[in-house]
Point group: D2
Chain length 144, copies 4
């Protein structure tokens, strides 16, 4: 599978900490940006899903931090669908930065797993049209 | 009037930025902590107010930053009611740090103004029992 | 004077709170984005200023919140230079959202004041070339 | 091994999102609070380590979210040392809430891995006295 969606994010003072680097929790915020914009471009907006009364909270998150990101860095957030099930899905992410080398330098990679639930917190099947949209996205990824 | 409520807050890496100091937006988070705990101790919890279907969003905020707060500082958040009206109230705050001098060093001071609204966003009178509770708190402040 | 710089910002879940709206402290983060991008476009990047050993911490911040911003809103952050002195400057901001009306709906407006200091915390004159750059920007604003 | 350190944290509006629950990235902030206070109580403060020119950035983080945390919840952050090596260490965390049942309800569990580095980013051995302090802490954990 190949990363299919790419989004640029500028690091702000607000994202950094006194160690001079991006604070570790903020990578999960970058993941939110990545999957939101990938879904918007290829399937539908999260707001559309929300309007169906469905939430997709994170049930698992993982990050491997390889190198620090700094203030004013223009980060590249890459996102792909890693797995799609009836009640859940998984996304992979890569955070990198173009340092002028052959290819961007990988700063961190990670994943999140999401469950589809109602506003009352009960598991619910991901609606057919969204399942289809995400399946097509997986097909596109595999062709790359 | 005299500041009546005092709450200690430990600065985390998460609160700081690459300038090595607490990021300016976080002072508004400290204000939330200050007024929430003052209300809980002297009147009622925000959750109780919420359960009445009333929200108290911030309509105005101001901060004068006088000196930086650093990682691991034990900040003192002082809060007082500055003004109480039918549909709104105002709180004053002081953020300081004990540097071992005669009195804590003032790092920042500010205020927030809040309006009482329903979940639908309509202005609503602050309920009588809360008004009374806050009035008594103002009395206590003036006696100090 | 007229607002000269405009920047779009997409609201994330990370920016909102359980009241269903953008949390009040995040407006100060939007201001950081606005002034940073205005400076980058018209004068120089903050990183360039930092490289001169000069920091521009916020010494005052004010916000008047007029209407809530919601999840996934595409906010418009408008920034202008309000005042320029030897050791300090002031920026004005407007946060609005295009609701399909004649003009965007104003959600909040505010300002920040900044002092120029060294890494050791001493006041320092804003360097001549930056003063000039910002002065030209003020000229451009006044001609609009 | 048994969790040895317990710290209470009150959920603020600032921690929640429009889904009405604590935003997923904030669990990593809770982990920072947990390990910082455990280290302060049993070994030394992070600030002491920093003063030796040593940083302990997160190189890996994982969270399994089992149930949502809500506004004003009084969370219990439990922390233990999971592994200690020459250049790195690992902490386990449990976030739970007392719902009045026999034992607190587990809301999330996770871990972080940290590497010891210099300010220049080079790997460095964890100093002997800190290694000893953490080893003793592991002994205490095993005796519980």
């Amino acid at each position: 599978m190949a990363i299919i969606h790419r989004y640029e994010y500028r690091v702000r003072y607000a994202d950094t900490d006194a160690g001079g680097v991006v604070y570790n929790a903020n990578h999960l915020r970058f993941y939110e940006i990545g999957r939101t914009e990938m879904m918007r471009e290829h399937v539908c907006s999260y707001k559309d899903i929300e309007d169906l009364g469905i939430l997709l909270p994170v049930t698992e998150s993982y990050t491997r931090y390889k190198a620090p990101a700094f203030y004013d860095d223009l980060l590249i957030i890459e996102t792909e669908v890693a797995e799609l099930k009836r009640f859940s899905c998984k996304f992979n992410y890569r955070i990198s930065r173009d340092d002028g080398e052959d290819k961007p330098r990988l700063l961190a990679r990670g994943y999140t797993v999401h469950a589809a639930i109602t506003r009352e917190g009960k598991l619910i099947r991901i609606p057919e049209n969204i399942l289809n949209g995400v399946s097509k996205l997986i097909d596109k990824q595999q062709k790359r």
